[in-house]
Amino acid sequence: MKILINKAACAGNARCAAVSEELFPLDDDGYIAVTEVDVPPGKEELARRGARACPERIIIIEEDK
């Protein structure tokens, strides 16, 4: 599973990081620091929850095929 983030549209709500700082690391200004994350096994539900928490709706989960 992959997390895809439209970083340019990040407004710094930091709600994803409130779900998991590990999956959704922030930079010093409080914006998302990454555009793509490979979700480690066992963290899938956390990844989905973090994506859903984004008020800007810019985090997309790519499920494994």
Partner: protein
């Protein structure tokens, strides 16, 4: 005298507004709204069109639905935050005689992209989740002190005794303003709130008063930096240039008007809900780890700010024709109660899966202080749960409210057993 007599006069409907989109609602004085704001908002959500035009307060649009608010907040080319056009502002400044006080401009809230980010980016780090987390212990100590000061009495007027002083003290501390001037700042806040004018020009003298109250500290920190926001702001660059005293006044005014009555009223709505729901208090006392989730659902259920926008050009927005220079309110409280977005939106549901509200708005102007606000809200709820027994509303003195761009609580009398 009937309450309706206080409602502002209606203006004539412009020709391009169809009758079907007119709904009579005074966002400052509607009697049912002022009596119990979120009950009236639920009624509007059910009965008013998703976007409507009201003839009150000079006539303006109200964006009700979640989608309208979400989309308008991003479409800054159609919905501008610049109420005094730049040319007019420049002309006003040019006419000021030398030595007259600067006209503070609350940047970045009243600046559209792309200029917006010039003023916002330098503040971002100061208000990041990491910087704010470092303040949590001192905010906790402050909240504890305030709650303990009323604890043995078995009652308090929560707004005056806790909800108002708490954010004022946090603010003074963060900015490095003298704490012994607390009363003066509280007075300026209540003055600022007592006359909720929607005219940007009428605001100017008030903004100048706020700026003047901070000026000594600005100068003192420039010459002698300390560990506070004012000193940090002297070190940043705006658009590649070092900060000037005018920039400091702009930021000071912004943080003052954006960060004080907002937190105070958010706390007021949340604590009123807790006071009416002893089972929720019991749940949170048993499990304090649920406070952050409870805070999010309180923010959703009682979203309380109504940011204004100026329609920047003739547009058709979600099927509605709007004309340049008309005003539109982002009625965020209705967006967060939209049943299309939140099933059974009137229910406070701690287990609701989707609590992704837009109480802090979304898009480029998303509340810069949201991380600080969340910590202040969470801390006060935690401290109340930890230090007070079950509290309830004083049935003799029901809460009172005011409405406008901030929908707020005027008084909130609480009682508990001692």
């Amino acid at each position: 005298m009937s309450a309706a007599a206080n409602v502002s006069p209606a203006v004539a409907k412009p020709a391009h507004v169809p009758d079907s989109l007119v709904y009579d609602f005074d966002m400052f004085r509607d009697p049912a709204y002022v009596a119990d704001p979120h009950e009236r908002i639920l009624d509007l959500v059910k009965n008013a069109p998703p976007i409507f035009w009201t003839p009150r307060n000079g006539g303006h649009w109200m964006l009700m639905s979640h989608s309208a608010n979400f989309n308008a907040s991003r479409d800054t080319e159609s919905f501008s935050s610049e109420f005094i056009p730049r040319a007019e502002m420049a002309a006003m400044k040019a006419k000021l005689p030398p030595g007259m006080p600067h006209i503070p401009l609350p940047v970045p809230i009243n600046v559209d992209p792309p200029e917006h980010s010039k003023y916002r980016t330098p503040l971002q780090r100061v208000f990041s989740p990491k910087s704010i987390l470092a303040l949590k212990d001192s905010i906790n100590a402050l909240a504890t002190e305030l709650v303990d000061s009323v604890k043995d009495r078995g009652n308090c007027e929560f707004m005056k005794e806790i909800a108002e002083p708490m954010p004022v003290r946090v603010f003074l501390k963060m900015l490095g303003l003298p704490l012994d001037r607390q009363d003066e700042y509280r007075e300026i806040v209540s003055q600022h709130l007592s006359d909720p004018s929607s005219d940007a020009r009428a605001m100017i003298p008030k903004l100048q008063r706020i700026a003047a109250s901070m000026n000594d500290t600005f100068i003192a920190r420039r010459d002698n930096p300390q560990d506070d926001i004012i000193s940090m702001l002297w070190k940043i660059e705006i658009d590649g240039k070092p900060t000037t005293i005018e920039d400091m006044q702009n930021y000071g005014v912004l943080l003052f008007i954006a960060g004080l009555d907002t937190v105070m009223n958010g706390i007021g709505h949340g604590v009123r809900h807790l006071a009416r729901n002893p089972e929720l208090q019991a749940q949170l006392r048993a499990n304090p780890k649920m406070v952050p989730e409870a805070t999010e659902e309180l923010l959703r259920r009682y979203t309380f700010t109504v940011p204004p926008r100026m329609v920047a050009k003739d547009i058709v927005f979600e099927g509605v024709q709007m004309k340049a220079r008309e005003r539109a309110m982002l009625f965020l409280p209705a967006a967060d109660l939209d049943p299309k977005e939140f099933a059974n939106s009137d229910r406070y549901d701690l287990n609701r899966e989707n609590k992704v509200h837009i109480a802090f708005n979304a898009g480029p102007h998303r509340c810069l202080g949201s991380h600080l606000a969340r910590v202040e809200l969470q801390v006060i709820y935690e401290v109340l749960m930890a230090r007070l027994p079950t509290f309830r509303l004083d049935s003799q003195r029901p809460p009172t409210f005011h409405c406008g761009h901030v929908v707020g609580v005027d008084s909130l009398h609480l009682v508990w057993d001692v």
